[in-house]
């Protein structure tokens, strides 16, 4: 009975660390910077990392805001969260579409690199190269 309780407590601690999402807080104190506590400490942390890898936590895009900048060009602001405990490196490519939904050929639509630290928010901005861009599509892939 005691063993089961201990296992459940440990699992709850790991789950609490895993749920430690950064959104909402402006200041993010990371492990090895902030003080250890009952649920996030030198013992539970490796388990949390293993758990994160096991359930395959990764990147989530929470927000993709389009607006026209002062130069009349469409600007895409992407915000997201890395749910994983590990730093996630990835590439993204934004393609721009005109009002007929046709692809705008441009040299700026290349695979660009992005890196998000574990349990962190990230943001990047992409600017359309022509004023006739009215929409976009974005793709991602692993950063080799």
């Amino acid at each position: 009975m005691k063993t089961i309780t201990n296992i459940l407590l440990f699992a709850a601690a790991v789950a609490l660390i895993s749920c430690d999402e950064p959104q909402g807080s402006k200041i993010h104190l990371r492990a090895d910077v902030k003080s250890d506590n009952l649920v996030d400490n030198i013992v539970t942390r490796p388990v949390a990392y293993a758990f994160s890898a096991l359930i395959g936590e990764g990147i989530e895009v929470t927000d993709a805001v389009l607006r026209r900048n002062q130069a009349g060009l469409l600007e895409l602001n992407v915000n997201g969260i890395n749910h994983s405990q590990f730093t996630r490196k990835f590439r993204y490519r934004v393609e721009w579409l005109d009002q007929d939904g046709q692809l705008i050929q441009t040299k700026t639509s290349v695979w660009l690199r992005m890196s998000a630290m574990g349990k962190s928010t990230f943001s990047f901005k992409v600017v359309a190269p022509r004023p006739d861009a009215v929409n976009f599509r974005m793709d991602t892939r692993k950063w080799e």
């Binding site: 130069a71 040299k107 992409v126 190269p129 022509r130």
Partner: protein, 203 residues
């Protein structure tokens, strides 16, 4: 005897393996090839994309009174250890700036001068000048002076990282200057850093 036969077989396999290294096209749209220590086309693509986006996004090229700025390409210095044609960067940047509708590039002055502009004007005074219809030869005072200039530099730093690895940093710097006032409207730097074996040559 047995060793000699085995040696000959090994050499034969070696030659066959070398012959199997077939040439393939690079998928430049989705290239998953390994990075190299020197600058390759992916680095120039990235640098150009970031530069153009920064330039257009800054609003510095939006003319207050409407219309387009006339821009000339100034000096782009290659201060790396590699033989780079800086057009690998600038051709992409210029193409995108032209297509943005905010800028028209000048071929009359700067590092991208088209000599034909001056050769055709020289026709008037040349021995074969009479062969040309004078009205089709550009008159004086037709060229338009640039209002903006884009110039920059690409440079490299090699750093010993540890006993086996080196770190190579490539800096791409561009700036846009108002040629009337001499004021700098925009500037940006893109860093591309690579770490790899000491045996890799970055020049």
């Amino acid at each position: 005897m047995k060793t000699a036969i085995l040696f000959q077989i090994a050499i034969l396999i070696g030659f066959l393996a070398a012959g199997c290294a077939e040439t393939t096209y690079i998928d430049t749209m989705h290239d998953a090839g390994k990075p190299v220590m020197a600058l390759d086309y992916r680095d120039f693509d990235q640098a150009a994309s970031e530069m153009v986006q920064s330039m257009l996004g800054s609003g510095a090229l939006k003319k207050k009174e409407g219309g387009r700025y006339v821009m000339a390409t100034g000096r782009i210095v290659n201060d790396t250890m590699q033989r780079i044609d800086t057009d690998q960067l600038m051709a992409k940047v210029e193409q995108e700036l032209l297509n943005s509708g905010q800028v028209v590039m000048s071929s009359a002055v700067g590092s991208k001068t088209d000599q034909m502009i001056y050769d055709t004007r020289d026709l008037k005074d040349s021995d074969v000048g009479d062969e040309f219809n004078k009205e089709t030869v550009a008159a004086k005072g037709q060229l338009i002076a640039p209002e903006l200039s884009v110039s920059g530099k690409i440079f490299q730093r090699n750093i010993r990282y540890d006993n086996n690895r080196q770190q190579v940093e490539y800096y791409f710097q561009l700036q846009v200057t108002d040629l009337t006032t001499g004021l700098r409207f925009w500037q940006n730097e893109t860093l591309i850093g690579k770490r790899g074996s000491n045996r890799s040559v970055a020049w």
